[in-house]
Symmetry: C2
Subunit: 246 residues, 2 copies
């Protein structure tokens, strides 16, 4: 018995689309989800624009088990993710009591004014559950199957560590990586035949170009270890055959 | 007079979604488009799945001036981008004469068989124009406003260099970057007022977290230099005011 759990990601921020900031969160989420057996199926990077955020969240949350967002939950005018999530779910948004009191007490302790901007970080869609932020306190939140987190990588990573243990996970996709000294043009035909003969595997072929030469990284993936071994053996036999032929 | 030109990107590949490969093309495209005055509005990363690729390309090409794709144009069974593009445009696909002859001659010269797999790289949607590939010959291609390029960064970058000069570009967004020693909670309120007072600018606020302290990078963007200066002056005046108050 194998079980699949699917996910999508929405990266929110003009600074990624302008190239000013290079995203570091997509690769991290991909690694973490793969490790626990959740399949990341689609990522969208959208601007700080309410309609764009709402559209992306609704498209993904309706067809995938989980959606993760990063960015746009700070205290400035361009932080509009919480409002967009409320709109996507059609629920009201306002100061949430626990977040408000927590932030109010923290700023008082640090002798900083609890400005309107800082209060924005206590605005959550109705029914949202906190995602704890051990770095800088202002929480992320979950509404339904959507998990809303910060864009600053260190905070995103800490929030994700708090979310992942609460999620349903699937059977992990196991993989075997096989180094192939030939370019894709040499192996493409027989590799396609192996994929057809092993339909319960995903055989990936990743061309690498170094020092003027192509080589290929082949990755065989399957949820069932025996199915995986059989396909990986077939790939290795194909490569041995090609080497023998020279 | 200012003019905007918009673009989207579709990154195709299971290996990005699994985390195995970390994308390097999004940031490069974002930088290059910003430099020539094309606004990247949305990026989607999708799996090696025909329906997913078709949906993403059609969604973006119908509402943006240009779409750029990376990945899935090699010779193996998981390289299905050309077929997906043909399906998205509703045009037939088959061997294209010029690409076929070019590849055939090249493999003959290198004493390599022109396998079925290699022939796949000559399959182009009807009406496609080549995007030259100075690295490994097999061309990318353009159909309508969609520009289809390789996923290997070195080849993608070379293809993009060949495509960009052919495109219509807009008035470049000029920007001023202002270092702000305060966290977003301090500046959020007044910064929002400045944004409201300067509606033809985009004022971005990017929180940075280092050594246990927040600071903020403020970026003011506008197409008109005078509009830009006025807003940037207002931001600097706000920071001076905050420094004076201590």
């Amino acid at each position: 018995m194998t079980d699949t759990v699917s996910a999508g990601m929405v990266v929110i921020g003009d600074e990624i689309l302008s190239g000013r900031t290079k995203d570091k969160n997509i690769g991290h989420l991909a690694d973490m989800l793969t490790a626990v057996g959740i399949d990341l199926r689609e990522v969208r990077i959208v601007a700080d624009d309410e309609d764009a955020i709402v559209e992306a969240i609704n498209a993904l949350r309706n067809r995938l088990d989980y959606v993760f967002t990063t960015g746009g939950i700070g205290p400035t005018h361009d932080d509009i993710t919480a409002d967009a999530v409320a709109k996507a779910f059609g629920v009201p948004i306002g100061y949430e009591d626990r977040a408000y009191k927590m932030l109010e007490a923290d700023y008082a302790k640090r002798d900083l004014p609890f400005t309107e901007a800082r209060k924005r970080m206590a605005r959550l869609p109705e029914g949202a559950e906190h995602i704890d932020n051990p770095v800088s306190l202002a929480p992320g939140f979950s509404v339904g199957n959507v998990h809303v987190m910060a864009g600053v990588p260190k905070i995103f990573q800490a929030m994700l560590d708090n979310v992942l243990p609460k999620l349903r996970t699937g059977t992990k996709l196991k993989s075997e990586t096989i180094h192939c000294p030939f370019g894709e043009g040499t192996i493409g035909g027989p590799l396609g035949e192996i994929q057809k003969a092993h339909p319960d595997t995903i055989i990936g072929s990743y061309p690498k170009y170094e020092d003027g030469k192509f080589w290929t990284e082949l990755v065989v993936r399957a949820r069932d270890p025996e199915v995986l071994s059989a396909a990986a053996d077939a790939v290795r036999a194909m490569l041995d055959d090609l080497r023998t032929r020279g």
